[in-house]
């Protein structure tokens, strides 16, 4: 079970993720429905995927996969997912920034896999706007909805940030010369 957070709200999920089998075999392609396919399937069967009669298409990049590989075919996708095999594998943060900042991906960018509440703030700054919480483990008294609702507060963990990011393209030192945020005076 995983709860979807989208644009900082709990949301319903219409997407089905297709994964390679444990034997490495590529999954079969359903005729309809919104599907997220592994990059390898896209590379092997783009024409089949594009010829489907109904349903939207998303692609999933693993940590080791270079977003440059989908940079020329972004218009084929309605969603790009980045998979975190473990939340301490930080490659997906760079993947997200590259997709947003270099390849100008404007659609849904979804973090999937081992996505935890305590990473939501950094993930969102790197350009993710959807998060499939791996919330089976730490839900309070096993209550997933309560856990997910509590997790929403993580987007507000910090109100300021020094660096440039997708969320705030100008670093703090450049924004200082613009409007200060509410109730704060710049030095």
């Amino acid at each position: 079970m995983a709860t979807l957070i989208k644009n900082a709200k709990i949301a319903d999920d219409s997407w089905q993720r297709l994964e390679r089998g444990t034997d490495g075999r590529l999954p079969t392609i359903p005729a309809a429905g919104d599907i997220i396919v592994p990059l390898m399937l896209w590379q092997a069967a783009a024409s089949v995927l594009l010829a489907r009669r109904s349903g939207r298409l998303g692609v999933c990049l693993d940590g080791a996969e270079d977003p440059a590989q989908v940079a020329d075919s972004l218009e084929a996708f309605s969603l790009i997912a980045v998979n975190f095999s473990h939340f301490t594998d930080g490659r997906g943060y760079s993947t997200a920034r590259l997709l947003r900042e270099r390849y100008r991906w404007k659609g849904e960018l979804r973090a999937i896999g081992d996505v935890q509440r305590d990473q939501l703030f950094y993930l969102s700054r790197c350009g993710f706007d959807a998060f499939l919480l791996n919330d089976g483990i730490d839900a309070p008294q096993g209550d997933l909805l309560r856990g997910a609702q509590a997790a929403l507060s993580a987007f507000g963990d910090f109100t300021e940030a020094y660096q440039t990011s997708v969320e705030r393209p100008l670093p703090l030192f450049r924004r200082r010369y613009l409007e200060p945020p509410d109730g704060m005076e710049w030095s």
């Binding site: 940590g63 939340f87 301490t88 594998d89 930080g90 490659r91 943060y93 760079s94 993947t95 920034r97 270099r102 935890q116 305590d118 990473q119 703030f121 950094y122 993930l123 700054r125 790197c126 483990i137 730490d138 839900a139 309070p140 856990g147 963990d157 910090f158 109100t159 300021e160 940030a161 020094y162 660096q163 440039t164 990011s165 393209p169 100008l170 670093p171 703090l172 030192f173 450049r174 200082r176 010369y177 704060m184 005076e185 710049w186 030095s187």
Partner: protein
């Protein structure tokens, strides 16, 4: 001292709130041990052998007296009345309770301090020259650049989960006192012919189990590009550094496996996209940061105080201390002073709360209320009038902080070792103490002259044994604690890595071995001017090995004969 503005303060305050909630969830069973671990590590909280250990950041080693008093208060209130200054210019508390840590962090935040990124696989505390801003050989004052790097690296959203920890050091002087060659990134600030500041950038240096001297990948990076270039290096590392084996995950392995040329090309390719982007520094920002540092209001003094020179002539104890623990200052009539935390019998780098409070008072009275922590685990009062040195010496002596051993064999760098650390193979503190006792005689120490002796309790090399003139490494031999000894390491401009002299020794043999090494040196040196390290470089390891192991064989033989006779 850098003075926080509201944004700086808000961030550390919000970190306290965040960590308080994470701790609450962990204690309530709503955050598993596995998920809590990386989160607490990024707040400097380890679970150690005996209790949690909290590492507090002292950015680039600069500390105000008010902050030192807060650390002393924390040591009394939530710990056992002392703390340990580390080789990363940080401070560690060994006995806090997990549930108290949020309160400790809140107290730290009230004096503009934090524990952010003092551990974990992220960008750690940036370190620099303990004489930054005052050294006569300084070309560029590194402090503002260090603060810019601190801000850039603090809560950086992209680089919180790197393959491994990441350490940056900055030096701005002719003599490198920041060990820039053995850091993940070493930054040497320089000036070009027109006087503009730029940086020579080294990558892939490091100690640990694979010690490597860093490679220069940028000869002169003009200052506006500092942060975009760092972003480029970190992004290449974050994406391509090895994650399959934590012993091969540091950037030095990536640089070596790719070759420095390929690594440089990848960084340049990445930088081409980031260069001149919004993270490009502006003169206004560098000025703003520079102006947020309080700087001492120096008096106009004579270059050499008469009172000082008279004191030196009259008092041998004072002269001995001044020779080792007083350092040149770029402002006439001032000097920097090292308060030694290396008194024999006290674990290297440890200070009691009473000492911390007393040092804070000394800093207020003698050094504009500021001090520094050196990577050699001592405290520095950086701006003392020469005419005050004698009075300061007397006070420091009464506090047990005037051991005149800076640069000498008993100024041992040592990690906490097996007494505290769960990673260690062997203890460090008793070995340091045994060596200090063996060489306690000051005249003998002065005769031996400059010698860096560094001890690490395990391959993680927190005690920097690779760059000690003599390095001692704790190893595990079938469950027993043994010590491998290397010689020929050095830090600074002529950095080098020590070479192991041979099979390791039991703990009680170590002082004898050190004595043999010293005896070899004393017998072979050309003059008193030739230091231990110089002799090792000139004659190589063999004569030292012959003395140590030749004698060891002899001793074993003697023992066998004695036993046979008995």
């Amino acid at each position: 001292m850098y003075q926080y503005d509201q944004a700086d303060q808000r961030l550390v305050d919000e970190r306290v709130v965040q960590f308080r909630d994470q701790t609450r969830r962990f204690l309530a069973g709503e955050l598993s041990e596995d998920n809590f671990r990386p989160v607490r590590l990024q707040n400097g909280l380890y679970i150690q052998r005996l209790a949690p250990m909290l590492r507090v950041a002292i950015p680039y080693g600069l500390l105000g007296s008010r902050q030192l008093r807060a650390l002393a208060y924390i040591a009394c209130q939530w710990d056992r009345g002392y703390a340990h200054f580390s080789t990363r210019q940080n401070i560690q508390f060994n006995w806090p309770k997990l549930e108290d840590v949020p309160d400790i962090l809140a107290h730290l935040a009230s004096v503009q301090m934090h524990a952010i990124q003092t551990s974990g696989n992220c960008i750690r505390n940036t370190t620099t020259d303990q004489f930054a801003g005052i050294a006569p050989d300084e070309v560029v004052d590194p402090l503002a650049w260090c603060e810019l790097i601190r801000q850039w690296s603090t809560l950086h959203p992209e680089f919180a989960f790197l393959p491994r920890k990441f350490k940056i050091a900055v030096s701005g002087a002719a003599q490198d006192r920041a060990a820039v060659q053995v850091h993940d990134i070493g930054i040497q600030a320089q000036r070009d012919a027109s006087g503009e500041t730029g940086f020579r950038v080294l990558v892939g240096g490091g100690l640990g189990r694979t010690p490597i001297i860093g490679t220069m990948i940028r000869e002169f990076l003009p200052w506006p590009h500092l942060l975009t270039y760092l972003d480029a290096i970190l992004r290449v590392y974050n994406r391509h550094g090895r994650r399959d084996n934590k012993y091969k995950a540091r950037i030095k392995i990536l640089v070596r496996e790719l070759t420095p040329e390929v690594f440089r090309a990848q960084v340049n390719a990445e930088w081409a996209h980031l260069r001149d982007g919004p993270a490009t520094l502006t003169a206004a920002e560098v000025d703003r940061i520079t102006r947020r540092f309080t700087r001492p209001q120096y008096q106009n003094l004579d270059a050499l105080s008469v009172q000082y020179t008279q004191g030196l002539a009259r008092d041998r104890g004072f002269a001995n201390w001044a020779a080792r623990n007083v350092h040149a200052h770029k402002v006439p009539g001032y000097a920097a002073v090292t308060l030694s935390l290396k008194k024999t019998g006290v674990p290297p780098g440890d200070a009691t709360a009473e000492q911390m409070d007393a040092v804070a008072d000394l800093a207020d009275r003698y050094s504009f209320g500021e001090l520094r922590v050196s990577h050699e685990q001592n405290l520095i009062l950086a701006d003392v009038r020469q005419s005050d040195l004698r009075a300061l010496w007397q006070e420091a002596k009464a506090l047990g902080l005037a051991t005149p051993n800076i640069g000498l064999i008993t100024n041992i760098i040592a990690c906490p070792g097996g007494d505290f650390c769960s990673l260690a193979n062997a203890k460090s503190i008793p070995v340091a103490e045994a060596i200090q006792r063996r060489f306690d005689d000051l005249d003998y120490q002065h005769d031996i002259g400059e010698l860096d002796l560094n001890i690490s309790g395990c391959m993680n090399s927190c005690g920097h044994h690779h760059v000690g003139h003599i390095g001692i490494l704790g190893v595990d031999k079938q469950g027993a604690e043994f010590y491998q000894i290397s010689i020929g390491g050095a830090q600074g401009n002529a950095a080098s890595l020590g070479k192991v002299i041979g099979p390791s020794f039991a703990q009680d043999e170590v002082p004898d071995v050190i004595e043999e090494l010293i005896a070899t040196y004393l017998a072979r040196r050309d003059s008193e001017a030739e230091r231990f390290i110089d002799v090792v470089r000139r004659i190589g390891l063999e004569p030292f090995k012959a003395q140590v192991y030749g004698n060891a064989d002899q001793k074993r033989e003697d023992r066998r004969r004695q036993l046979a006779a008995a």
